[in-house]
């Protein structure tokens, strides 16, 4: 799957260092792509799928991703399923995880203020432009040029899953049919990989996902959701801009 990644760095750093930060981030994301792509025959995922490498011989990252996927399968009552489409496809975790790692590496390399957006799933750190929080719009699920909410964050992640862009690409594993009931789910929390997985799982659950999302609040994950018939739900701690 093609995904566009945007990086914005707000630190007051010399240009060469900024260029290096971006280059190293891109290199990492390409490395992840080479190892986890389901489209590249020589990726670790594809070789593992074909049984060419045993789990024990896989990279630490690969085993970590698989562990997290099975944790999520359990924590989402099976609604997050890296095997939903048949063969292993950990993309739903890898995207958020790779951005989390990229952001941590940026921090270690001296960038305290940045965001990375991978196809509309965003991890940000520190203050945004002008020292204010980053302002993140949540796309309106029917009007592409409008927003449903504007969020303000300094450190944290925002992930949105919806049925509006790709049609029925999220399936309810219990019924085997396309997810319905919720049109858009946004999850805000400390970790992008979890926020993304939670948003996708809730979308797959349909309206029962609202109650499930409510239980994530105690873990630090706030949410906003829109039903197929246009009702909007928000958790009380959602960082909505005033």
């Amino acid at each position: 799957m093609g995904t566009v990644v945007s990086i914005e760095i707000a630190d007051d750093l010399p240009d060469p260092q900024l260029g290096e930060l971006v280059s190293s981030t891109c290199a990492w994301l390409h490395e992840v792509d080479a190892r986890f792509s389901t489209y590249k025959d020589d990726s670790e995922v594809c070789r593992f799928r074909r049984g060419e490498i045993a789990l024990a011989d896989c990279s630490d990252d690969f085993r970590l991703v698989l562990d997290r996927c099975s944790d999520l399968w359990r924590d989402t009552d099976g609604f997050f399923d890296a095997y939903a489409g048949g063969p292993l496809d950990p993309s739903g975790y890898v995207k958020g995880w790779s951005v989390e790692v990229a952001s941590s590496r940026l921090l270690a390399a001296g960038s305290r203020r940045h965001y990375i957006s991978a196809g509309g799933d965003i991890r940000m750190r520190g203050a945004g432009p002008g020292g204010r929080p980053w302002r993140v719009g949540v796309r309106h699920p029917w009007e592409a040029d409008k927003l449903s909410w504007v969020l303000e964050l300094t450190d944290g992640a925002v992930a949105t899953s919806g049925t509006y862009e790709r049609g029925a690409h999220v399936f309810n594993p219990r019924t085997g049919t396309a997810a319905s009931g919720l049109r858009s789910v946004t999850v805000v929390g400390p970790d992008l990989a979890l926020a993304d997985a939670y948003a996708t799982a809730a979308l797959a659950m349909g309206e029962p996902g609202l109650a499930w999302l409510a239980k994530r609040i105690d873990e630090g994950y706030e949410s906003a959701a829109v039903t197929d018939d246009g009702r909007a739900f928000t958790s009380p701690g959602l960082p909505v801009a005033s």
Partner: protein, 169 residues
């Protein structure tokens, strides 16, 4: 994940730089548009405004003051003042029923009953009431980035890359 550099190249502009494609940033002060609105108005039961009727088997809980949601600015033409009880919707955790009050053609409050009995030990009985409902509002605002479900085709990415190449980015 492919072609992740596509948007991660750009122009260096001074100390605070912007690298890459800015997602659609809305102009400020654009008019607020109305959004699809779906009121749960089945079984409408107009009542006197005031205390909504208590439920026999569940406890009424306030759903919050909607302070975390955008103000409802839609013109709810045809909404009559009064209190309306929505359809009781059953989910795996019980039954939820929303009561709304209408005044001045707008929803002035929305409360809901939530199941408080018969929860299994694994379910936090306080959890289900934590998501408060409002009507969806569409707005435009000045933002740094947009979160949304995206499907970026390979061809789109390739085209974007080509354009960036042409631009010498």
């Amino acid at each position: 994940m492919r072609r992740s550099t596509a948007a991660a190249v750009g122009t260096l502009t001074g100390a605070a730089l912007i690298l890459g494609v800015r997602l659609s940033v809305q102009p400020p002060d654009a008019p607020v548009a109305t959004a699809p609105v779906a009121q749960e108005q089945d079984q409408v039961e107009p009542e006197e405004t005031g205390e909504p009727a208590p439920e026999a088997t569940s406890t009424k809980k306030p759903s919050g003051n909607k302070k975390t949601t955008p103000p409802a600015e839609e013109e709810e033409a045809g909404l009559k003042a009064g209190t309306y009880k929505g359809k009781a919707v059953t989910n795996p955790y019980g039954t939820v029923q929303v009561t709304i009050k209408i005044s001045g053609g707008k929803i002035s409050s929305a409360d809901a009953t939530y199941p408080t009995k018969d929860f299994s030990g694994t379910i936090n009985p306080n959890a289900v009431k934590k998501l408060s409902e409002a009507t969806l509002a569409a707005q435009s605002a000045d933002v740094d980035t947009v979160s949304g479900a995206t499907f970026t085709s390979e061809s789109y990415v390739q085209s974007l890359q080509a354009a960036l190449d042409k631009a010498g980015a």
